[in-house]
Structure formats: structure tokens, C-alpha cells
């Protein structure tokens, strides 16, 4: 939010559409997309399988951006960029943002990927906003009776909270 982009996720689209339709609609409707492949790993439950949603969505995005190169830009994030070279060799030559699997690493790499025309937020601002949202999360979860921050209502609250926190931290009314 501090770079002033409104985040969207497939879970926030209303209605009973098929999840895949929602994802395609979001990709086509967004100017930028950020694909974090760091969670492509084996889950603990049997049968142990890797989660392939993110690479699949990245594939859809790449094709969409080939078809409309000026309408969509995508970025790939990974814990360690070498993982991508191993798991998704087709992306060789693409710049991958390695965030070390830490919140500050994610903020750092997003700040590397995005530049504001007027005022680039400082790292301490980004961390402060992250801290505000993290501190507010238990209250939001409790209020929504939710267990996960990926539930639609919680995610909407978090997006709103992040913008309010960013405005407060930057002293903008």
C-alpha cells in the first residue's frame, strides 16, 4: 500500500465463479502482478504434494503479458533465486527477486521492484506499516471470527488497514 497500488487476490472476488475464472479475470484486470514462488514446497499432509497454484498462475500471467505486452508487467519473488533456476528453468534470464523468506526481505524486494515517481518510501516506513498491520491482525481475526488472514473479509480489512497505516506513517491526511 505504501507504494500506492491496490492489492487484489482471487479470494476477494465475489460470486460463485470458478476459482480459475476469477484468477484469469484478475490477471487481465491488473496492471502488475507479483508471484511469490517461495511456498512451492511439499505439504505435511499425505499424499505429500507440492502446491502448484502459484507457478500455474505465473504461467497464465506470462501468456497474458505476451498477448498484451503493454498492459501487464509481472515480477517473480522467491526465498532464494536459485530455487527458481532449479524448479522452473524456463524462467532463466528473468530477474527474480530473492526475499530470504523474511518480511523485511519481502519489503526490500518490493521496494526494489517498484519506484514511486514522487516520493519513495523509506525502509523504516515500510517496516512500520508492516508492524501496524501485524499488530492489528489478531484484533481483525477476532472481530471477523476467522482463523486465517487469507479469508476474504479479513483480507479486505487488511488492505484497508494497510492504507490507513501508510497514510498515518507518511503524515498524509
Amino acid at each position: 500500500m505504501l507504494v500506492r497500488i491496490d492489492p487484489a487476490r482471487s479470494l476477494e472476488l465475489p460470486g460463485g465463479e470458478r476459482r480459475l475464472d476469477r484468477i484469469v479475470e484478475l490477471i487481465l484486470g491488473c496492471r502488475y502482478s507479483f508471484h511469490d514462488l517461495s511456498r512451492v514446497e511439499l505439504d505435511l499432509r499425505r499424499p505429500r504434494t507440492p502446491r502448484m497454484n502459484m507457478p500455474f498462475e505465473l504461467g497464465l500471467t506470462v501468456m497474458a503479458s505476451y498477448l498484451n505486452p503493454k498492459q501487464h508487467t509481472w515480477c517473480v519473488f522467491e526465498k532464494d533465486y536459485r530455487r527458481v533456476l532449479k524448479s522452473l528453468g524456463d524462467l532463466a534470464g528473468t530477474d527474480v527477486y530473492g526475499h530470504d523468506g523474511t518480511p523485511s526481505g519481502v519489503l526490500r524486494e518490493i521496494a526494489n521492484a517498484l519506484i514511486l515517481e514522487r516520493r519513495q518510501p523509506e525502509m523504516r516506513n515500510l517496516q512500520a506499516v508492516y508492524g501496524d498491520v501485524e499488530t492489528g491482525l489478531p484484533s481483525i481475526l477476532e472481530r471477523r471470527g476467522a482463523k486465517s488472514c487469507y479469508e476474504a473479509a479479513v483480507f479486505r480489512d487488511l488492505v484497508y488497514t494497510a492504507q490507513r497505516a501508510a497514510i498515518g506513517r507518511l503524515g498524509i491526511s
Binding site: R4, D95, A113, L116, G136, D157, R164, I172
Partner: protein, 74 residues
Amino acid sequence: MPKRQTVIPKRQPIVVSGKFMPSAELAKMLGISARRAKELDRLVEDIQRQDRLRLAKKSASKKRQNGPSRVAVR
């Protein structure tokens, strides 16, 4: 098939010129009620106020540890 081209040039950042959406507009877009938006506003204000207090206390404690300033000693 369109001509194949590089989608992301190496380390070329995306330049964003957007502005913050007015909070009421953002709440409407997200489907958050005005009442809930106010609750979230208060939540953020409380968190940031607490943080400012924490920083002020920390700063005061640091000053005490460093002892009185030269001006005060004189």
C-alpha cells in the same frame, strides 16, 4: 502469435505514479461498511499512538541512562 519479447528487463523497476485512494472510496471498493471502516481507523490510530508512546518512553529511558546533559550540569 505475437513477437516474443522480454517481459521484465533486468532489474528495471516499475515506476508507479498512483495516489492513495480516499479512504471512503477504498472502503466502498472493498465492500467494507462505513462502521467497520471507522473501527479500523480507530484500530490503526490506537496502534500508532501506542507505538509513539513506546518510542517516547524508550527515548526518555535512554536519556536517563546517559545522565544529565552538560547544559543541565552547568
